[in-house]
């Protein structure tokens, strides 16, 4: 790290340094692109993990987290825009493919325009939306943005802001599709999209030429809502992001707040959280597998997968009292102690799972039609995975050996024995198989813990009113879909100044266009299903 600091300081004298959780760089906009390029080229920070829009009251800007895909080092860069009326920043789309949609998100919420991003349209909000909702001075008057029942106009061109040699900024328009493309609109309500996602798809016969992604059909503004709530009140929202990773998401937020409070979580709570996380991962993978098979036409597999899922839900329900939105993790630990027969139920589950997995393989994985549908379809290279910030089973099956549980260990994972499931093919079959193997690994983790739940408190002593000190924290966990991150910026009050949920599904949706080009329409379903994005997690 010190080495990086010295070299960067030599190259870019304008950069200010600080040491927080990670090395923190503060760079003026003019040098941001060059700094990013040199971080990528010279130091291997080739994975843009998060690009977070910020409104500090006076100034707008972005906070970026960059990860070295080999050493898993993380670095934070902060860039400020110069004014509030017409804020411009330089885009890093050419360095990190994922920056394309990250920057569109920031533009949508903060109105920061990115010079050089070829697509500066609204991503989440309607085209005719007034104002930028995440700015602190946003006018919430409902009359400005009433519920409109007319359909918004679909734009056929994108706007790019280009900086001329004289430093003046002008706009360039790009057409999204060629004039004679046959464009099929898939979504927002379509069985293939696993929720409400809209994909405008240009096809030639059955072959996909290009996909234009529209989000926001379930954008609920959770991050903005969090800014008006106290910390304990924000936790339940995480259950409603990726509802199949509810416990893992709330684990992430709780850890982030605990880190800020410097709170020690009792060992018993840690173990319970870990078991719950793995049960949740089983749940998530089972449903992902089931719905994917249903999309391929093998409806029966869905019901087999749901059969085991119900068993897991029973276990979770006995302890938490809910089937989906558990709200079980709380700051300092967990809300209730485990149910009396939790241990015996989990043991029963561990007996069922290997048989069930065998059955799934027999019914589906070995099927010749399934093989033909999945093998070689939607091949993701490890470089593309890093570039598009694809994490989770999708990245690991492409060969990028990245698992937050190992890369940025948290909780009690460092003590546990499990394999990071890695494959090399990167196609849909690999993603599908990786999920099944991960289920086995989850069972292995649970088996290590279930007999060793220590006695003790389930929740640390927490003050009645929770105030975080001034500062910012970033915490990641590995959910069923990938690396889920949680960023808190605090000004020392009882509610966050900015809370950002960096969702893995957002990046998975961003890679769909890349993976589907040249594939058939039917492959879109295969690819979407194996990427396994959850739309409420994309839209937040």
């Amino acid at each position: 790290m010190a080495n990086i600091q010295e070299t960067i300081a030599g190259q870019f004298p304008e950069v200010e340094f600080a040491q927080g959780e990670t090395l923190e760089l503060n760079v003026p906009d003019a040098k941001w692109h060059d700094l990013a390029a040199s971080l990528k080229e010279a130091f291997g920070f080739d994975n843009l993990r998060a690009l977070i829009g910020m409104d500090w009251g006076e100034q707008l800007g972005i906070v970026c987290y960059l990860v070295n895909s080999k050493t898993y080092e993380m670095i934070r860069v902060k860039v400020l825009a110069d004014n509030r009326e017409e804020p411009f920043l330089h885009s890093v789309t050419d360095l990190f493919a994922v920056a394309g949609i990250y920057e569109r998100e920031v533009f949508d919420f903060y109105g920061i325009k990115f010079i050089g991003n070829p697509d500066m349209r609204h991503l989440f909000l309607r085209n005719d939306w007034v104002g930028y909702p995440f700015r602190k001075d946003y006018d919430t008057n409902p009359e400005l943005n009433p519920v409109r029942l007319n359909h918004e106009e679909t734009q056929d061109t994108t706007v790019e802001y280009v900086e001329g040699p004289d430093g003046k900024i002008h706009t360039v328009e790009h057409a999204i599709f060629a004039p004679d493309d046959f464009v099929v609109n898939i979504g927002p309500q379509h069985p293939a999209t696993h929720g409400v996602l809209r994909l405008r798809t240009a096809v030639e016969g059955e072959t996909i030429k290009k996909i234009d992604l529209y989000l926001g059909y379930i954008h609920r503004g959770i991050e903005k809502l969090c800014e008006g709530l106290t910390y304990p009140q924000t936790i339940h929202f995480t259950d409603r992001l990726d509802y199949l990773g509810a416990l893992m998401n709330s684990h992430c937020l709780c850890m982030c707040i605990e880190k800020a409070m410097q709170l020690e979580v009792p060992r018993r709570a840690q173990v319970i959280r870990c078991i719950m996380d793995e049960l949740m991962r089983l749940n998530s993978h089972l449903l992902a597998m089931g719905t994917f098979c249903m999309d391929l036409g093998a409806t029966t597999m869905l019901f087999y997968a749901l059969r085991e899922r119900e068993t897991i839900l029973d276990i979770l329900e006995k302890t938490t009292g809910a089937r989906m939105t558990f709200n079980y993790n709380c700051i300092g630990g967990v809300r209730q102690d485990i149910a009396e027969d939790f241990v015996s139920d989990v043991k029963k589950l561990l007996e069922i799972m290997p048989k069930a997995i065998k059955e799934y393989n027999k019914v589906f994985t070995g099927n010749i039609i399934a093989k033909n549908r999945m093998e070689g379809v939607g091949v993701l290279s490890p470089e593309a995975a890093v570039d598009y910030n694809v994490t989770g089973p999708a990245a690991r099956s492409a060969g990028w050996n990245y698992d937050v549980r190992r890369a940025q260990p948290y909780g009690i994972y460092p003590e546990l024995q499990f394999d990071v499931v890695t494959r090399t093919e990167g196609d849909s079959m690999a993603r599908f198989k990786a999920r099944i193997t991960e289920m086995e690994q989850s069972c292995r983790i649970i088996a290590q813990l279930i007999d060793n739940i220590p006695d003790g408190e389930i929740c640390a002593k927490v003050p009645k009113v929770i105030k975080l000190p001034e500062g910012h924290w970033f915490q990641e966990v590995e959910t069923g879909k990938g690396a889920f991150g949680c960023y808190i910026e605090s000004t020392g009050t009882t509610s966050p100044w900015r809370m950002k949920f960096n969702s893995p599904c957002f990046c998975l949706a961003g890679v769909v266009d890349h993976l589907t080009r040249g594939q058939k329409i039917a492959d879109l379903i295969t690819i979407g299903g194996t990427l396994d994005y959850i739309v409420p997690d994309i839209d937040r």
Partner: protein, 360 residues
């Protein structure tokens, strides 16, 4: 083996002799009567299949299936039909209304016509052409016209893709179906449905034709599943890709026609398979076992036919709830690269078998 033609003769007699109707009136009345009966059978069979499929699928998926409306849910399809009959028929702007309305009728007429030549029972057959089996192939291929029309006239991109898929698929798989039918015609030496049934008196074709007949049966059942647009070949209405495929824009009874025709085509494919490979209404006979054959003969021929057809369709329903769906390019290459060459070779094989008298 009781001959059920006494029923038809008795009715004919009733009109001509007892009521004293002239020739033209008799024929008209008989045609109307026959039409009504066939339509009734058609409707009842379709409703049965809707119930049957739902129950079978539920059993595969560890569920119960309909059980609230009537005993074992048998009245469920009736409730569905009542509802569908009075559901709104949406007419669309910017479409050819005539063609749009015509399409479901074409589809259902195609499947109804096929009913005319099915061998329902000994003496129970609407018409006995000397080219019966060709007639069947000809009318069942009208259905694809209806589907293409439905997709095209709906003025919707999903239906259009669905219809074109369906067109490509049905036209391709018809070749395999026809080839395997011809294979069996070679074995029998006649195209008349009655002759085909009678030729299987001593032994069903699937046994007497042995290897080529079994290959023809496998090809037929695969191509037949594709021809009915059912899983794993249900691409034209692949829900996860194309909403509801070519009939996305149809509502009420128009959709009901497609829905019924789907199940009836299933039955027709099963019925033709029963006719060509399992002796139509012919009971199971083993040469030499006269007592056994007598016992078999006591089971009415209608039951034999229906049981065979339903058993074969059960297998096709089994396919649907087990296999995932193919992709369109895989589907077509499967037909043109594998099924069609196999059935061509099989035709030659069957001819050799027949020429050298290697049949049982």
């Amino acid at each position: 083996m009781q001959d059920l033609s006494f029923v038809t003769r008795w009715i004919d007699n009733l009109f001509r002799v007892v009521l004293g109707c002239p020739e033209w009136l008799t024929v008209t009345l008989e045609c109307v009567l026959l039409g009504v009966v066939l339509l009734l059978v058609y409707a009842v069979l379709a409703l049965f299949y809707i119930w049957f499929e739902r129950k079978v699928c539920a059993a595969f998926q560890c569920r119960l299936g309909p059980n609230r409306v009537g005993p074992f849910g048998v009245l469920q399809p009736f409730a569905d039909m009542f509802k569908m009959l009075i559901k709104e028929l949406i007419s669309l702007n910017h479409t050819d209304k005539f063609l749009f309305a015509l399409a479901p009728f074409l589809v259902i007429v195609a499947s109804m016509l096929a009913f005319a030549v099915l061998p329902w029972g000994n003496g129970l057959q609407a018409i006995d052409f000397n080219i019966g089996i060709f007639f069947l192939l000809a009318v069942s291929s009208i259905g694809v016209l209806g589907i293409l029309l439905a997709g095209w006239s709906s003025n919707n991109k999903f239906t259009l893709i669905g219809a074109l898929r369906s067109g490509a698929q049905m036209v391709s798989y018809e070749i395999s179906i026809s080839l395997s039918v011809i294979t069996m015609v070679v074995l029998c030496g006649s195209m008349s449905v009655r002759d085909i049934v009678m030729a299987q008196d001593h032994c069903w074709f699937i046994f007497s034709g042995h290897i080529p007949a079994i290959i023809a049966f496998l090809v037929y059942i695969i191509a037949g599943t594709a021809e009915t647009n059912r899983g794993p070949f249900d691409l034209p209405e692949a829900e996860s890709e194309l909403t509801a495929g070519y009939h996305t824009e149809y509502s009420g009874m128009h959709f009901g026609f497609f829905y019924l025709a789907e199940y009836l085509n299933l039955f027709i494919v099963g019925g033709v398979a029963a006719l060509l490979f399992f002796g139509g209404w012919m009971p199971f006979h083993i040469p030499g076992w006269d007592a056994f054959n007598q016992v078999m003969n006591y089971i009415p021929s209608v039951i034999w036919f229906l049981a065979k057809a339903i058993l074969i369709t059960f297998i096709m329903i089994w396919f649907k709830w087990t296999f995932p769906r193919l992709r369109i390019d895989q589907l077509l290459s499967f037909e043109w690269k594998y099924l069609m060459p196999i059935s061509l070779v099989n035709l030659v094989l069957m001819t050799l078998v027949v020429v050298f008298g290697l049949t049982f």
